[in-house]
């Protein structure tokens, strides 16, 4: 049986593990041990050595992010840890499982991570749509306070932490690290320019670390097992397991915790059961809406950060969206770009103006008004949306399915022009 630290102890019936069940399964042991025996710097070191990289999309090494936080007696306080539970990336549904089924795992991860950066207050920034997560997290937090895992002098140690749940007003940009900080302060979720980085100047001007739910849920296992054992969980050495997912016309859409670096083919064929009868695979976005398309020739690539980058895409959130031959690729890209256009915060011209323009052109293709020259216009927009031209990563993310779609599905675009209609309609 494969070792599944994140999901292995979840109940089959879909109920959440309560505090007693979580403790019986070994929960909060890593926290007890760390508070007794490890200094914050040692917790940080273990996380750094484990190779853990952020599971929210960008894949930044977690230990390194923490190391930018000012520590010790002269550090400004209060310091903050924020859990990014906004999960607004289309095609992504992995954090919801972790919060609904094992909320204490997240709470323990929060306490350990907050301890590592000597944070005083932690917030969980939760998507408004996740009602069940909200109820189960609220209950788990209350249980953790009652048991002395939160609040003053945790388990008799000198460390204190308050944990609060915030429900988002709902906007893709509220999941972007600095947009999220603005949202928590009660502002519009526009991004902030960096530097200064949030680790130094974040929430209310204080040092702040923002990490994804899945990232934080890994921390108790890194501490509990040790960096070496944790690293060995992966298939390719990048460290740990990953919650992979698939949606679209596959036989068994869902989520699976597998060694990080499992191949795309194994996920697609063994776990998702392959394509539904009667449809053929055309391509996939490996990690949510804002990643580049991969096609047949990439199926043997391991789903890890470095391999997908080598193949011109990104791991993103690790939940793949599968395109089949009954779906028009132009229509799919139009749907994605309409999402990005709608969610743009309006600060940078290539984004707010460019994305509406892109969506208009794509609609033209679908309605039979596309021209060959429009393909160059789309490619030019993709270049303008690229990293370096905008304040945040929404625009570069929007460019990814567009630029790769133009490359891999060029024939489909051209057919729309030649036939003056969408061949799928």
């Amino acid at each position: 049986m494969t070792d599944r630290p994140l999901t292995g102890r979840m109940r089959e019936d879909g109920a959440a593990l309560d505090l007693r069940a979580y403790e019986r399964a070994g929960g909060y042991a890593a926290l007890r041990d760390a508070l007794r025996r490890l200094a914050p710097a040692e917790v940080q070191k273990r996380v750094k050595d484990s190779g853990l990289r952020g599971r929210g999309g960008a894949g930044f090494p977690t230990g390194q992010k923490w190391s930018f936080v000012p520590m010790g007696a002269d550090a400004p306080h209060p310091k903050y840890l924020v859990v990014n539970a906004d999960e607004m990336e289309p095609g992504t549904f992995k954090d919801r499982l972790l919060m609904e089924r094992d909320p204490h795992q997240l709470v323990e991860g929060v306490i350990l991570s907050a301890y590592a950066i000597e944070a005083d207050v932690a917030y969980i920034f939760l998507r408004w749509a996740y009602k069940l997560s909200e109820a189960r997290l609220a209950r788990a937090i209350a249980e953790a306070y009652d048991a002395g895992y939160l609040g003053r002098q945790i388990l008799g140690s000198g460390y204190s932490l308050e944990l609060r749940l915030h429900i988002s007003g709902g906007r893709y940009m509220a999941g972007e690290e600095t947009g999220l900080i603005n949202a928590l302060e009660g502002r519009r979720a526009n991004p902030r320019s960096k530097p200064p980085y949030p680790a130094v100047v974040g929430l209310w001007g204080r040092p702040t670390v923002v990490n994804n739910v899945e990232t934080i849920c890994n921390v108790p296992h890194v501490i509990g097992r040790g960096a070496e054992a944790y690293r060995k969980l992966s298939a390719t050495g990048e460290g740990g397991t990953k919650l992979y997912g698939a949606s679209g016309r596959v036989k068994r859409p869902g989520l699976w915790e597998l060694p990080l670096g499992t191949t795309i083919r194994e996920i697609l064929e063994e776990h998702a059961g392959g394509m539904r009868d009667g449809v053929r695979f055309r391509g996939l976005l490996p990690g949510g809406a804002s990643t580049d398309f991969l096609v047949d020739e990439h199926l043997d690539a391991p789903m890890d950060f470095e391999s997908l980058q080598k193949h011109g895409s990104r791991m993103g959130t690790g939940t793949m969206i599968v395109l089949d031959d009954r779906t028009c690729p132009v229509g799919m890209i139009r749907n994605l770009e309409e999402f990005f256009a709608q969610e743009s915060c309006g600060w940078c011209t290539p984004c707010w103006a460019g994305l509406h323009w892109v969506a208009d052109i794509l609609r033209d293709f679908e309605e039979g008004r596309g021209e060959m020259a429009d393909l160059d216009t789309l490619a030019a927009h993709a270049r303008l949306l690229a990293p370096g031209n905008t304040y945040c990563a929404l625009a570069p993310g929007a460019a990814e399915p567009l630029q790769s779609g133009l490359r891999h599905f060029r024939d489909d675009f051209e057919r729309h022009v030649r036939e003056h209609r969408c061949p799928w309609r």
Binding site: M88, P90, R96, R127, S247, P253, N335, F339, E343
Partner: protein, 154 residues
């Protein structure tokens, strides 16, 4: 005027942040939970409580998708139109929901029973297409079942 209950709930939120402004979104969510939406009058009542101007508060309200600045029906239907649901028939589901609810996309039925809104990914893409009514998530919805599903919401 804010009700005592609303005021009480907002005061509780205010204790959870170091600034009053930080509770602005929570405060509007509380009003919306009680009244269905956030009117101009509600903004005027909230602004002094969280020490923002009415315009600043409206600027925050208008940024977020889930703060309604227009009146809605008794039940709000949110149909996901993001990519995985789009591939699996969200368009047909939206049409079926509109017909069953008697409400246009983005609008409210004449009897004010339903408001129908397209919404971005609801995080249940493995069960596409999905819709949400008043916070209840409905999975793998067949457009043919939209009418019987909505009949449950009087």
């Amino acid at each position: 005027m804010l009700s005592d209950e609303e005021r009480h709930e907002i005061e509780a939120e205010l204790t959870r942040y170091p600034t009053r402004r930080a509770a602005s979104i929570d405060a509007m969510r509380i009003v919306q939970r009680h009244r269905g939406w956030v009117s101009d009058e509600a903004l005027r009542d909230l602004a002094p409580l969280i020490q923002m101007t009415v315009d600043e508060l409206d600027g925050v309200a208008s940024f977020y998708n889930m703060i309604f600045r227009r009146a809605v029906g008794r039940h709000v239907i949110l149909v996901c139109n993001s990519v995985s649901c789009w591939m699996l028939g969200a368009g047909r589901l939206l049409d079926a929901a509109a017909a069953a609810a008697g409400a246009p996309q983005g609008g409210t039925s004449a009897d004010r029973r339903f408001t129908l809104l397209p919404i971005v990914c609801l995080g249940a893409c493995d069960h596409a297409p999905v819709l949400m009514v008043d916070g209840d998530l409905h999975h793998d919805v067949d457009p043919a079942d939209a009418a019987s599903l909505l009949a449950r919401y009087e």
